[in-house]
Symmetry: C2
Subunit: 405 residues, 2 copies
């Protein structure tokens, strides 16, 4: 009998998928930690294993996508919440240098490689664009898990990733416009100004505003959870505003977290951490699930994969590393490594390229492979790059509040 | 420019809907509390206001439905987590009497009213069946918010609601089978046995099992959040198993919470409360959103609405009250009132009736109206019925952990 007074048949099958995603993420995350790697790597691999490429237990669907997108929003929000005395603008110029070089080098290298192996210019530019944008969520999660969010290099990575995101959107807009025939530079300029203004204003005045607003809300409402509700509302509100202003929604979520970091209680942060810990596995597994291992069946594609992955890692290391060289070799390497993961961002660029018809199926598979592999490599490299800082800073800036409570 | 590197256009519109649901729930919940009513009433009304019947800002859709269903699962899970020393089986016989009388009286009364106003027997039986099942989530939320979960009457309500749910499923199965032509009593009997066995076994042995399992998981894993992850996994697992065993998924979630109540830390409960507080508004607003005020346009339908709502309230009060009379008049009234809300359960029964063609459109609207109105009336009545207990017990058994942390 299939009567579910509460919980429709679809919900039950979704619950089963959610259980599989969650269980596999936690199991492989644990194994990953036991062999000395960040849990994130295991959670990404969990997606590959249960996804269509290996076991085929769970396929990407629109519900899991929604949980995945909410997962990365809450992840960035939580990272923002951990950054109590982080003045984004203070690291502005260094971050700008890192971001610009981190955009230019991968874009040119990616484009040249694709042209060298005989692809048309528009297609090559799109692959270059997909190699531009960093998926900051992965790096942030790894640094938060290791308690290293408040390190100088970590803050630079976060700031540079925000600028990188704005630049990445502009690059994508230019490349898409070129593919369609013409570029509207005026519209592009306006978007660039609005998105920059939004980010700068919220980063600069958000914290101060909420240091006034939060105590007022506390005293005005009867509800002991009003801080939590206010946090959720601001997270949604700034995510929406950000995307309207031409910035990625995750940047809005991150700025919302930063704005609240010094005004909400530890108890509130612990409660939002519950939502984040619940949703993040859907983001990580969701990325792994999109791995298409069929690229291995064609030797040419496989070769291209190898070249593109190496180029994606090296170009960010060189570009971002050069931008951060002023801070010494160690921090330069940390920053370079931190900007390596392309994650969901590279995949979305590839999807847009495919939808407007400039990226063929095999190149799409290559870009997705590059996005996922850089995302898996980066945490391993990050752990190496931050090794010497880990022992002394184990107790700072971690995502988890379990120990505090 | 509509480029969202992270956050597709659909996600952004979903985020906007989520923001509206969340903001309206918290605003009207706050207003509701200020005029001395439970917040739940305001959150339900928020759904009516932003839904298609009034402002039309948000329409029910499949994504919001998923969040709503997850919301009620986590709500029941959290309620279970709060019940530390609750032996479900100890109140078994009283609960059984309450549940049986609380099923028989509404079923017969609802059926007789519908026949009296000239409806065919099958249709009348379906309306009766829709009047049977209690939506325990609403009552549990109100009692938890008022810190009254651990009262004797509250525990009886929870236990009776579980039995009521099993009985409601059987009634629905019989009525549906009758509508389709034949009843398979053997299949029905097997389902009844399996569902009862599942509930009894988990309720009886769950707590003891996890008092052994949780410390082992704690010491075996490297992750400080393993209790939280285990909780989420058990919640999903038992929800799925429950629905496979013929019980509603929410009962599985509730049993999962109860099984963990005495073994997981307060910090873990606080973290799951974050997920619950995030998702519950989607459940409450989702119910209100389905209110169809067009029933008011037809005087005959309106009259029937009035009669059915009164019958729905009175029949549970009398049925469950009689079952609980042994405990004294006050607790009998509390139990009766606590079983009044029909919430999502009544609506699902009506939907099934409509899908197999025995419930016409106007009767469907009446049942939905009854489900929502009983859900709004019950919290107000509950607050009155528990008035004398509220002052002394304000600090016990509340859903919120903000004060503990």
């Amino acid at each position: 009998m299939a009567f579910f007074l509460s919980g429709s048949a679809e919900t039950i099958s979704l619950l089963l998928e959610m259980l599989l995603v969650f269980a596999s993420a936690k199991l492989l995350g644990e194994i990953s930690e036991r062999i000395g790697q960040p849990a994130v790597v295991g959670e990404l691999i969990a997606g590959v294993v249960i996804g269509p490429s290996v076991l085929g237990w769970v396929k990407p669907n629109e519900f899991l996508s929604v949980f995945s997108e909410l997962g990365v929003l809450f992840l960035l929000f939580q990272v923002g919440l951990e950054l109590k005395d982080f003045k984004l603008m203070r690291v502005g110029w260094d971050a700008l240098a890192i971001a610009i070089l981190g955009v230019v080098v991968p874009l040119i290298l990616g484009r040249q490689i694709m042209i060298a192996v005989g692809n048309p210019g528009v297609e090559a530019s799109f692959v270059g664009a997909a190699m531009v944008a960093t998926s900051v969520g992965i790096t942030a999660k790894v640094l938060a898990d290791m308690g290293l969010l408040t390190q100088r290099a970590s803050k630079l990575i976060l700031a540079a990733a925000i600028i990188d995101d704005v630049l990445g959107l502009i690059v994508l807009a230019v490349v898409s416009s070129l593919a369609k025939g013409s570029v509207n530079y005026l519209e592009l300029g306006i978007t660039a100004v609005i998105s920059t203004a939004f980010t700068v204003i919220v980063a600069q005045y958000g914290t101060r505003a909420f240091e006034r607003i939060v105590p007022r809300v506390d005293s005005a409402t009867k509800n002991s959870k009003s801080q939590f509700f206010l946090s959720i509302l601001l997270m949604f509100g700034l995510s929406i505003l950000a995307s309207r202003a031409g910035v990625a929604a995750i940047i809005g979520a991150f700025l919302a977290g930063m704005a609240l970091a010094s005004s909400v209680s530890e108890s509130t942060k612990h409660e939002t951490a519950g939502v984040t810990d619940f949703l993040t596995p859907f983001f990580l597994v969701g990325i792994g699930m999109r791995m298409d291992l069929s690229v291995f069946s064609n030797p040419n594609t496989l070769q291209l994969c190898g070249i593109i992955v190496v180029a994606a890692v090296v170009s960010k290391l060189i570009g971002c590393g050069l931008g951060a060289l002023r801070l010494g070799a160690r921090d330069a390497i940390r920053v370079g490594v931190g900007m390596v993961p392309r994650g969901e961002v590279g995949m979305v660029v590839a999807q847009i390229g495919q939808s407007i018809g400039v990226i063929p199926k095999d190149v799409f598979a290559v870009v997705v492979f590059m996005s996922i592999l850089t995302t898996m490599i980066a945490p391993v490299l990050l752990k190496l790059a931050y090794r010497d800082l880990m022992s002394k800073e184990r107790s700072d800036g971690r995502l988890s509040h379990s120990e505090i409570v």
